[in-house]
Symmetry: C2
C-alpha cells in the first residue's frame, strides 16, 4: 500500500499527525484535509514543507508570517 505518514515539523522535530494517509485535499489556504486508508479524517493547519512518497512521508510546517 502506498499511503504515507504525516508529520508537523516544529523546530526541526517531526510530530506525528496521522498514519496511513491516503487523501490530501486543500480546505482553504494553508488548511488541509487528510483522510487515512481507514477513513478517519483530520484537518491540518499549516503548509506543506515537503513530501517524499518513496519514504512515505508528508511534512507540514507552520506558516511563518
Amino acid at each position: 500500500m502506498c499511503e504515507a505518514n504525516a508529520y508537523m515539523v516544529t523546530n526541526g522535530q517531526e510530530e506525528p499527525i496521522m498514519e496511513s494517509v491516503d487523501v490530501i485535499e486543500p480546505e482553504e489556504d494553508d488548511t488541509w484535509r487528510l483522510v487515512s486508508i481507514f477513513g478517519d479524517q483530520k484537518i491540518v493547519k499549516g503548509r506543506i514543507k515537503r513530501m517524499n512518497l518513496v519514504d512515505h512521508k508528508i511534512l507540514f510546517e507552520h506558516r511563518e508570517d
Copy 2:
C-alpha cells in the same frame, strides 16, 4: 514503489505532468518542484487540487483568481 503520477486538471481533463514522482516541494506560493524517482525535476505552477496516494495520483489545478 510508492511514487505517484502528477496531472494538471484543466476543464475536467487530466493532462499528465510527470510520472513516478517521489518528492513534492513548494518553491513559492502556488509553485511546486517535483522530482521523480529517476531524478528529473519539473516546476509546476498551480495549486494542489487533490492527492490520492493509494491511487498514485497527484492532481494540480490552475489558480482561479
